[in-house]
Amino acid sequence: MTVIITRHAMPTQSAEDRINNFEEVALGYTPSLAEEEAERCLGCKNAPCMQGCPVGVHIPDFIGKIKEGDMRGAAEILTRDNNLPAICGRVCPQENQCEKYCVRKVKLGGSVAIGNLERYTADWAMKNGFKARNNDLSTQFAEMRVAIVGSGPASLSCAADLARAGARVTVFEALHKAGGVLVYGIPEFRLPKALVQKEIDGVLALGVKIVTDVVVGKTLFIDELLDEYDCVFIGSGAGLPSFLGIKGENLNGVYSANEYLTRLNLMKAYEDGAITPVLRGRKVVVVGAGNVAMDSARTARRLGAEVHLVYRRSRAEMPARAEEIEHAEEEGIVFDLLVNPVEILGDNGYVSGMRCVRMSLGEPDASGRRRPVEIEGSEFEIDCDEVIVALGTSPNPIIKNSMPRLETTSKGTIVADEYGRTSVERLYAGGDAITGAATVILAMGAGKRAAEAMLKDYIERN
């Protein structure tokens, strides 16, 4: 009888250790784990996994190189399609992407751990000073000048592809540091900032210029950029936080997840002697159940708080990745499910508690999920001194407001075709700015497709 080798789990820091530090939770495969996991790949000719990759990584090929022990070869194949592989290997929801289509998924010991192998390859490349292939300077794009708005994953991916084709790219970032959500949003313990910086350095090494402290729509306008550059890409993300709209929401101690995470990630408020302050609650309630809610809860836990997460639906509907939910639970985050906040209570201007109601699930709603219905007379109070609201974000209106002729939807997203072409000629957009809050890898895919269209349209125009 053949023994089916099951998927090799990612080694992690133990929960008891990691709640006391901000070091990365997942430790990465050892070489032997990587080789054993690579051996599990059947190298399917039709590569079903690839249909799940928004940037089109040639998955069986790079894993095949790991099997051969040719790490340089693996890195070459991986970086051909993926401009930020060390980031994707950490934060992509692979279970809904490549790994979803793996033929081993159901009966053969689980999908090949493609994400873990991607991370292993990318980390090898960084450690060994591997340089991705050089720019194609030959070329018809040597005179092409492109401005990119924002420096998150969509923009970085777009910038890298354009630079590799030989175009001259300038990225404008509103904050003082490049990286967008990768630096202000995702916590250190999931995505170390030094690693993000290395990936960005890789993009800079392609000749891309990044200018920080420029808010496009305020400091400079899109029309000025269109005058000066051949084309412009907007990758400004979805940074505007939603609040609950309930009483007490402006009390001291109520944060949007964006503010909380920005203070901690971008401004390093968790470090001793940090200048940017953050309140450190004794008991923190996080509202919401997506990845950002998990990030907030786990961050608060690391600052020493008892952390509860309230969500108005049940566990089955939680939008966060299964892995994030498990990690949060292991770290002692308490999930108060089918609970909805109705008021935040205050004492002397600061949060002192939260009034909630219990919910039950009714018929499915427009999203296909069962609609939560309030249970009458179920009101109760949670004692807490800090509340973090993680209910999603929408695109920032600054660009939209500064350029009325740019077509947008009622949700504030920019209207664009599948290649990112907007209603304005030579103006492209991609990532959360057109989709609303989504994932790093979808944004990167959009950046790539837009780069392709920009190059193609440029040739047609010239």
């Binding site: 509103a174 003082h176 400091t219 940074g239 001291n252 201007g349």
Partner: protein, 275 residues
């Protein structure tokens, strides 16, 4: 010249200085009423300051800084020729007082920094502009000559009577209206309790009042919600919806409570820099 270099620095009162910063990007489109966010150094916090004057020719922006916290003290130790780590803007919306013809500007403390460019702007539009400028004492009054130049009438008032009349800006405003002055708008900028008091008075007097909210901020672009306040029962962001609002609709008590959130932490930082 280096980007964000301090071009000139001038002491205006014992803990207030005016800085002229080289920032060609910021100066390109900035207008009265907007603000910048700066960091002194790579470990610094992000702090907003109202643009109090600018020169497109020189490529510079002026801000007024009162040394009250870590960053402002740190800034006070920087000299001409040194450069700030970051200086981003213009942020927020420019002032729009187009519908008014006779305006009384009210400035308290370094709020004068905000009303000075307004005075120049409004006068250039042919409007009648009076200003009431108040401070705790004579040493804390600033921009007096500039303001006298920029307004039709300037009225000074100090808490201790060391310059101008003795009393608060509200006393002066009340007196002016009682003496027959008619204003269709009051524009008030200063400490929150002062703006609250002015709004309470002008509500009684039935004069439309605009205030500029100096909330704490992180990004200043609508991303975090740190600067949120309640206006007319609704949550607004000072950074993208303001910084100017109808003063009669602002919940000042909430704004005052929010301004104190980090008081304890701030004290520790200030102690560390004062040594």
């Amino acid at each position: 010249m280096k980007n964000f270099e301090i071009v000139s620095k001038r002491r205006l009162a014992n803990n207030v200085s005016e800085y002229e910063i080289y920032a060609p990007y910021v100066v390109k489109h900035c207008l009265a009423g907007q603000f910048v966010i700066l960091r002194t150094d790579a470990d610094g916090e992000r702090v907003p300051f109202t643009i109090c004057d600018y020169s497109r020719e020189r490529g510079t922006v002026r801000i007024l800084v009162q040394e009250i916290g870590y960053t402002t003290l740190k800034l006070s130790k920087m000299e001409v020729g040194e450069a700030l780590a970051d200086f981003v803007g213009p942020l927020g919306n420019p002032t729009d007082l187009t519908e008014f013809k006779s305006i009384c500007l009210v400035g308290g403390g370094i709020g004068t920094a905000v009303i000075y460019p307004q005075a120049k702007q409004l006068r250039s539009e042919g409007k009648r502009v009076d200003a009431v400028v108040g401070a705790r004492n004579q040493n804390l009054l600033m921009y007096v000559e500039e303001m006298r130049e920029a307004c039709d009438n300037l009225y000074l008032i100090t808490d201790d009577g060391s310059n101008g009349k003795k009393g608060f800006v509200t006393d002066m405003l009340k007196e002016l209206v009682a003496s027959g002055r008619r204003y269709d708008c009051v524009f008030a900028v200063g400490p929150l309790p002062m703006m609250k008091a002015v709004c309470a008075l002008t509500r009684e007097l039935g004069i439309k009042t605009v205030v500029s909210m100096n909330s704490m901020m992180v990004d200043g672009t609508g991303m975090c919600g740190c600067c949120r306040l309640t206006v007319c029962g609704k949550t607004k962001y000072a950074c993208i919806d303001g910084p100017e609002f109808d003063g009669h609709e602002v919940d000042f008590d909430e704004a005052i409570a929010r301004s104190r959130i980090y008081r304890e932490q701030e004290q520790n930082h200030v102690c560390s820099i004062r040594g």
